[in-house]
Symmetry: C2
Subunit: 231 residues, 2 copies
């Protein structure tokens, strides 16, 4: 058993008996479980393309005037303008951990020797995306705060920085006194006050976007809101 | 006149005659202009608390498989979980540029000697937030790409990293072929696929949030959606 009470999985085959993890009540209500598969079920979906992603986290204690958090958790802004976890598609025939490590090197300049190698012990759960024939494997990896900070600092030197990755962020893990600031706002995710308008004005002023391009941009953004949201 | 055609403002007093900038048609329709003030009007609002923010940008040419962008534009994730521009409140009696520079040092480890000092030439516009009695001054500052990258790299070493700032990002300045990915998605701002659910599951699994806390978090996030959105 590892420190967090999970049994040790030394290789992929051992994961075959890994059960579905318990999930928060609120997500159960939202039928998230319908998309979850055990590793054995997920691996049997031979026509599905596998991908693997990592939630890197480190225990810490940070008491700020805005809130207190007990862990640093990493997410990043992707090339497509959405927040996600580092990782990506696994090549055909490639071992999941090898593929994941390859993606992390490209996206974060992750170095297993410095930042701790990922093992099947870190496996959390798998989910399917029916319409895209994708199987997504999630790993949750505990780092020391030193390892975490080193990963943050390295990130802008990664080969894919500015290509696949547009910035790493630390999730603000507290709720401010106004009940919204911090994690609830991050989950919604929003711009502060007029920052979104200011961004568009700045792009216009710099000359990066013309009036017509901004019209089209806002149309596209509004059309996207009509598409189904997964939460 | 500077390279971008604006007249040179050597000091704050010269800004008194600065007109409202032209703004994109779409934002005009949305009556953004109602909240804009000239610098002279904004400065006369003596009961309003001044703040100043910066849109740092650098010309570049990056051609990726996802899209092409001609500029790197910096935003950051704030302590309250929203995207915004670096900067902050100016103290009573403090010069706007001094206050802005102070905030940037704290938030980004910005160094005027390395990253170029900000001047009143970089002033873009002012806006008021009536209900909070705030005047927001926006500066748009052109850096070289070297200066921009240096700022990105320094950011995690800033005093306020993990306190006021939770990460800097480069705005993805293109629209992908699917019409949504890139800037439209960033403006909406979203999580990819199931990443939001995965984040909550990971926090639950690590033991950072209990079932009850997650219920409350989702309630707070949903309540926030009912609040007026500024765009």
């Amino acid at each position: 058993m590892t420190a967090n009470g999970r049994s040790g999985y030394s290789c992929m085959d051992d994961l075959k008996s890994h059960p579905l993890p318990s999930i928060p009540r609120s997500l159960n209500v939202r039928s998230v479980k319908r998309e979850m598969k055990t590793f054995a079920e997920a691996s049997a979906l031979s026509f599905y393309k596998p991908a693997a992603h990592v939630c890197f986290w480190a225990p810490c204690y940070k008491n700020t005037m805005f809130g207190t958090y007990n862990a640093a958790v990493m997410m990043h802004l992707r090339f497509d303008g959405t927040f996600g976890f580092p990782g990506g598609l696994i090549n055909r025939g490639e071992d999941i951990l090898d593929g994941l490590t390859r993606e992390l090197k490209e996206e974060l300049a992750y170095n297993p020797a410095v930042h701790k190698p990922i093992t099947y012990d870190d496996y959390h759960s798998s989910r399917i995306v029916e319409d895209k024939l994708l199987v997504l494997h999630l790993f949750v990896v505990e780092l020391s705060m030193d390892q975490f900070v080193s990963l943050e600092k390295n990130a802008t030197s990664a080969e894919e920085y500015g290509v696949e990755v547009f910035g790493t962020v630390r999730v603000p893990l507290y709720t401010m006194n106004n009940k919204y600031g911090g994690l609830p706002a991050f989950l919604n995710n929003r711009f502060i006050g007029c920052a979104k308008q200011e961004l568009i004005m700045a792009l216009f002023s710099i000359g990066i976007l013309t009036d017509d391009q901004i019209d089209e941009l806002i149309d596209n953004a509004n059309n996207m809101k009509l598409a189904p949201n997964r939460m």
